[in-house]
Symmetry: C2
Subunit: 414 residues, 2 copies
């Protein structure tokens, strides 16, 4: 029989190398268990609405009106839409020719890019040029596009923090480049030590890699830290000296859960750039909804960090920003041995056991990168506040049982 025209053997090798842990083995097993009727708590992807967070009202009103512009001419429109949402929809529609169903300029609508430039200008205090702003279909597509443009072959290297969000490792594999890892310092609250970066660059260059760009993720994913201003300045001058493109992933800039270390941009575009202002009809509702979401996430960040830190052999930095908690699990040698026997990485083994026992669907740290012999898991902080105590209790019970089974003497905390 002839081989199939397209089978695993004949796929592009780079496509085969792509691994995406947040949708990987753990997620697939969780989906199976769900089909079998088990209640699963999906904390593998940062998916707040799937876990009950309600969308903000004003932006959705505006989008609905832009999608169905004939509503604006309906004499009853004001019975269900506030006047400022109607005015805003008219404003955005006036920027298009033909509404949301028409192709726009490839870079995005000029009017929207102008508003983003104004937002950046206001945020950073420096002018911003709309001509240099490109809108993409989600952050991932933008990252993929710029990496595709930079990477010419396997000798081109991209500096990526470890732990990292696996979009970076996946995209660099897909386009056949070389990932040059630099480690974040867990002991320093996942801080970025430029000496690590310099060592990584030197090691890569000694292997003939041309280091071309540096990725920073701020606030960190999965690590949740905010970079300090002095750290950012160091990074910028390092990139300038070494002639590197700086790729700053700042998608979580509005998800900050403490006041000591505010988010500071390395200069990129922002989200939700033009919300209702004080005095607007929808302002109070919008402000209350946003505050409620962020306040609740802040409380959940504390509940989760504290919960993890109360568990045996678990240690966890506080989630300063983003939507994730990334506890270290100090796996005892017996557990590592059992994992090996089962043909699993130790953290995958732990996370699978956690899933089977509790329905909590997390992502093993190996999907993000971690130092040799150190193990983590990533969970979102998104389950509802009411559910959180039960989830953390369930985790604690599982972890106790696991440690009782594999750890005959208590390990010292890190």
């Amino acid at each position: 029989m002839a081989p199939k025209p397209l089978d695993y053997e004949s796929l592009n090798e780079n496509v085969k190398k792509v691994a995406y842990a947040v949708r990987g083995e753990l997620y697939l097993r969780a989906s199976e268990l769900q089909k079998e009727g088990k209640k699963i708590i999906f904390t593998n992807v940062g998916n707040p609405h799937a876990l009950g967070q309600k969308p903000l009202t004003f932006p959705r009103q505006v989008i609905a009106l832009c999608q169905a512009p004939f509503l604006i001419d309906d004499p009853n429109v004001e019975t269900i839409f506030p006047a400022d949402a109607i005015a805003r929809a008219k404003h955005y529609l006036s920027m298009t020719s033909g509404g949301l169903g028409a192709y726009s300029d490839s870079r995005g609508l000029p009017g929207i890019r102008k508003e983003i430039a104004e937002f950046i200008e206001k945020r950073d205090g420096y002018p911003s040029d709309p001509g240099l702003i490109f809108l993409t279909g989600g952050a991932s597509k933008g990252i993929m596009q710029i990496l595709h443009t930079i990477i010419r072959n396997g000798r081109d290297g991209i500096l990526v923090p470890v732990p990292q969000y696996p979009l970076y490792s996946a995209t660099i594999s897909l386009y056949g480049g070389s990932l040059v890892p630099y480690y974040l310092e867990e002991e320093a609250n996942w801080g970025l030590d430029l000496n690590n970066v310099k060592q990584s660059v030197a090691a890569a260059r000694s292997k003939g890699i041309i280091v071309r760009a540096m990725v920073i993720i701020n606030p960190g994913n999965p690590t949740g830290q905010c970079l300090s201003e002095s750290n950012l300045r160091e990074i910028l001058s390092f990139c300038y000296q070494e002639n590197l493109v700086l790729l700053a992933d700042e998608v979580y800039q509005q998800n900050i859960y403490q006041d000591e270390r505010p988010f500071i941009s390395a200069r990129k575009l922002g989200l939700m750039v033009n919300p209702p202002k004080p005095g607007d009809i929808s302002y109070l509702k919008y402000a209350a909804e946003s505050k409620a979401v962020l306040d609740s996430l802040r409380r959940r960040a504390h509940l989760m960090t504290d919960g993890f830190n109360s568990c045996r052999n678990v240690v966890c930095n506080f989630t300063q920003g983003a939507m994730y908690s990334f506890p270290q699990i100090r796996l005892p040698p017996k557990a590592i041995e059992a994992a090996k026997k089962a043909g699993k990485l130790p953290d995958v083994f732990y996370c699978l056991k956690l899933l089977e026992a509790t329905g909590i669907s997390t992502v093993p740290g190996s999907g993000f990168g971690q130092k040799e012999g150190v193990f983590h898991l990533r969970t979102t902080i998104l389950p509802s506040e009411e559910d959180m105590p039960a989830i953390m209790a369930s985790f604690k019970k599982f972890n106790d049982d696991f440690m009782n089974q594999y750890d005959y003497k208590t390990h010292s905390r890190m």
Copy 2:
């Protein structure tokens, strides 16, 4: 001074090779002229809403309600939304967990894929498996994804019709594959002659190319023809024998402007798969809107083809489907010479002159591919019916002047 970390020299070579004529030199010049105050008729991209076509009411009502699900609970919702749109929005929202702002399964929502499978089953009369249906962010992304998966290196060849939509040539360049062209027969109303395909395959193989897939575009873009059933059967058995992946681009399956040659699918997914049915509240309005759009496009297809065929040295097949007209312009030797002096391809030269004289923004045939020494342009058939006579008169006058300037004796028609 150090070189910039990213400049034209250091870009990925495949990215540099990407050319996209529908957004190319002609489009950029048209945008400039528009900024200078000239009235431009943009017929370079198939962008119906930008040229005044109104969106269909029912789908937009449903999308608006899905975007802003709190509207469904508003006591006044029925004053501006019909009950069947509300019911449909509830139906789609029930398929999601967390609404449109939540990540779904990577392949798309299972419920939507099930409806698409039902549509295909009804359309083709054969069962369809939702598990084999993948939703993508637009047709282009789907095409890019499958080509990326197939193409391993420059020895992998993809059969592409010429003329083709430049997405194919651009994507094959981007992923470093080889485009294997097969010519459509203009004299046979842009029909596909399998002998041409076989010759192309043989020629490619003799150069060491591994031909892996065959693209068909049905209805054709820019050529507008529908493939006959017998032609499709030939193609399918050819792909089977030669072990080729068949990539059937059928995005325009509902844009058909004649009854003799109905659209027949080579088995792929469809658009707008679940419109209101007879008896539904919104059915009459939906059916009337759809019919009005298609009837008007059918009249415009005739106006445009007839208009082109009444022009000196211009010959044009009828647009059986899709949204484009692709007339051949028989450029006289003097015009070809003048183009050469101006450093332009002959069809680019003609289209630029047309743009400057009339504001009609078209795309030169060289962007889609054409036989050596034969020249075309592509225009959409989308300008409004009222504007069409003036546009065609303006084209005719320009073409007369052009031919008077460059063609001292009348050429025979093809």
